[in-house]
Amino acid sequence: MTHEVQPDYIGAKMGMWLFLFTEILLFGGLFVLFAVHLSRYPAGFHAGSATLSVPFGSANTVVLITSSLTMALAVTAVQRGERRRTLALLGATVGLAGVFLINKFFEWSAKFQHGIYPGSEHMLEMEKGQAAFYAMYYAMTGLHGLHVVIGMCVIAWVMGLVAAGRVHRDRFVTLENAGLYWHLVDLVWIYLFPLFYLVT
């Protein structure tokens, strides 16, 4: 999002916010589908939601919110010129994102073992509302998981820039934009969690 020649701080931030709008709209399409399916099959969604593990989901929510905190602290640290602390906090953010994915992995594989995954025979025999619930579940948490992975890559890249001294107290917009992206990933999850785990 940034480039060397022309450090236009406001312009760079504006570009990032526009990009975040497009991300929200990308998920927005799925939220619309979710709304339609929910209104069509309230009972099926209720039943499907009851099979998800609330403790698992809650733990992941806590993990992701904490990672948002470490990200915000990293931005403050870089503004104060504390390079080592910035790197440590960014490392913590990536670590927590990893914990989130591992947690998700266990959750998904438990469902897979019960034969619940897109295209499985069990899904075909399932009542339509529940099948629609799981289709939405895998589509939305899957796309969110992909964004977590992309976010981890972006943060790792910014860590490289910080370590190389190319992001520092006088030029930190790259880090700030990466932070915005990470907060968006967190925010999307904060909507996904109640919709899937607590809707019942």
Partner: protein, 541 residues
């Protein structure tokens, strides 16, 4: 900054310390990136035209003429995918938007030059994937460019690859739009207030917002088709609780606003050309600028008029029919303003104006037939017939196509510093306009008579009109060949021109032709509007 390379060749000249090919392919200069886009788009345009000619040739008589039914399905799908996603959507914004926008507002470059180069690469990658979908997998896609489920979810042809290409091209489009919005907000020269922006910039601004706000929906739709095909997701499959109508909604929420990505910049080009060749300030600057935003806004609310016969509720049909009519208002405002600008102007019928006038005529035919489709009652009669095909080709080819050709002829001397043969250019414009009417008007009649679109075969009573239409496609081909040959000759051996051969008042004409690498040596200070010709001097040599 020290200008490197031959001064006479401007940005086309070599860059110091870099290989020639590398300096082009990885250039961050908006003018070079725009030219790269233009080259790719014109190559894809030729591919699309050849596919279109093949379709018309097949339909010259009932029964099999030159290809089988499956090949025909693949050919019209590819014609649609290539023309819509690779040619028409990026045509004016990506090519001329990139070249002209920073010059228009007195900037050194766009806001994110490296991102700009990246989006061109995304375009190239998307184009390569789309073309490779032809030759790999189990046959080219045969769904039509709309990729409607359930067929696109079950057909064994190469739909997955084509949809991936569309996703990547969409990403390229988003990044271009984002870049333009930030550029227009941040990089205007001192004195260039919002009231002094050239109208082309206003249309690019409106277009950029549509690109940013609508394209992500296409992205998710494309991803879901892939998920549907690869994983058997079931989101659109009724057997698993899904709903195919939802696909149509998601698809048209993007693809209808995309129509305005196609037409708005063309309207901007026409708004630039008409005042210059009437030597008159444009009539109603404010209303033209506002109507661009109004079209972008209202045009985003009308997607479901593609679905009047899909089984939506009657209330929805009524609401979307009404909203569709609303879009006609700002469009008509523009047309009336152009006509009022021409009125009592000192008109010089140079090629750009010829193309612009053809644009106005053809766009009006397309717009008026659009009203027939927008009112639910008549739409039920002509839905999915050749009437629709005729209508959108009038708008897209007659509108966007002529806007693009007009832009090519208007900015040609600025970009290359040379001039083409003007009489021949005028002749090609007229041949094209005549051919276009011969090609598409019979389709309107065929549609009213009940000939369905996309069909491989037809009843004998439709033969006459199909023959006329096919002959029209040949006239169009002749016109295109003449136009491209003329431009090519102008590029190689045309007469050299000065900074301002048309006597236009926007900023790009104050630079030498072609413009130097870093645009303005000193940041210009804007003291007059873009259509105040009083102090402009013609500089033809």
């Amino acid at each position: 900054m020290a200008d490197s390379g031959a001064a006479g060749n401007g940005f086309l000249g070599p860059v110091a310390g870099a290989g020639h090919v590398r300096a082009w392919l990885f250039s961050t200069d908006h003018k070079r990136i725009g030219l790269l886009y233009l080259t790719c788009i014109l190559v894809m345009f030729v591919v699309g035209v050849l596919l279109g000619l093949a379709i018309r040739l097949e339909l010259i008589a009932p029964g099999e003429t030159i290809m089988g039914a499956q090949t025909y399905n693949a050919v019209f799908t590819l014609h649609g995918v290539v023309m819509i996603f690779l040619v028409v959507i990026p045509s004016i914004p990506a090519a001329f938007g990139n070249i002209i926008l920073p010059l228009h507002i007195g900037a050194e470059d766009v806001a994110f030059p490296r991102l700009n180069n990246f989006s061109w690469w995304l375009y190239v990658i998307g184009a390569c994937i789309a073309v490779s979908a032809l030759f790999t997998g189990d046959g080219p896609p045969d769904t039509g460019w709309t990729f409607y489920v359930p067929f696109s979810a079950v057909t064994t042809t190469n739909v997955g690859l084509a949809v991936t290409a569309v996703f990547i091209l969409g990403f390229s489009s988003i990044l271009t739009g984002l870049n333009f919005i930030v550029t227009i907000h941040r990089l205007r020269a001192p004195g260039m207030g919002w009231g002094r922006l050239p109208l082309f910039v206003w249309t690019l601004y409106a277009t950029a917002w549509i690109q940013v706000l609508a394209t992500p929906i296409l992205g998710i739709t494309a991803l879901l088709i892939v998920a549907e095909r690869v994983l058997g997701m079931g989101i659109f499959d009724p057997a698993r609780g899904g709903d195919p109508i939802l696909y149509q909604h998601l698809f048209w929420i993007y693809s209808h606003p995309a129509v305005y990505i196609m037409i708005l910049p063309a309207m901007g080009v026409v708004s630039e050309i008409i005042p210059v060749f009437s030597r008159k300030r444009i009539f109603g600057y404010g209303t033209i600028a506002a109507s661009s935003l109004a079209i972008a806004f209202a045009g985003s609310l009308v997607w479901a008029h593609h679905m009047f016969t899909s089984g939506m509720s009657d209330t929805a049909v009524l609401v979307f029919s009404l909203l569709t009519f609303v879009v006609a208002i700002p469009s008509a405002v523009k047309v009336f303003n152009w006509v009022a600008t021409l009125y009592k102007g000192a008109i010089r019928l140079e090629p750009p104006l010829t193309f612009a006038l053809c644009f106005v005529f053809l766009f009006c035919v397309g717009g008026l037939t659009g009203l027939v489709l927008g009112s639910a009652g008549t739409d039920v009669h002509v839905h999915d017939t050749y009437f629709v095909v005729g209508h959108f080709h009038y708008v897209i080819f007659g509108g966007t196509g002529f806007g693009l050709f007009g832009a090519m002829h208007y900015w040609f001397p600025k970009i290359f510093g040379r001039m083409y043969d003007r009489r021949r250019a005028n002749a090609s414009a007229l041949i094209l306009a005549v051919g276009l009417n011969v090609l598409y008007f019979p389709m309107l009649i065929l549609g009213l008579q009940g000939m369905p679109r996309r069909y491989y075969d037809y009843l004998p009573q439709y033969t006459d009109m199909h023959v006329v239409s096919t002959v029209g496609s040949w006239i169009v081909a002749v016109g295109l060949a003449l136009m491209f040959w003329n431009l090519w000759r102008g590029l190689r051996a045309g007469q050299r021109v000065g900074a301002n051969p048309w006597g236009a008042a926007t900023l790009e004409w104050t630079l030498s032709s072609p413009p130097p690498h870093h645009n303005f040596a000193r940041e210009p200070v804007v003291t007059a509007g873009p259509y105040e010709f009083a102090e402009v001097r013609l500089d033809d040599a």
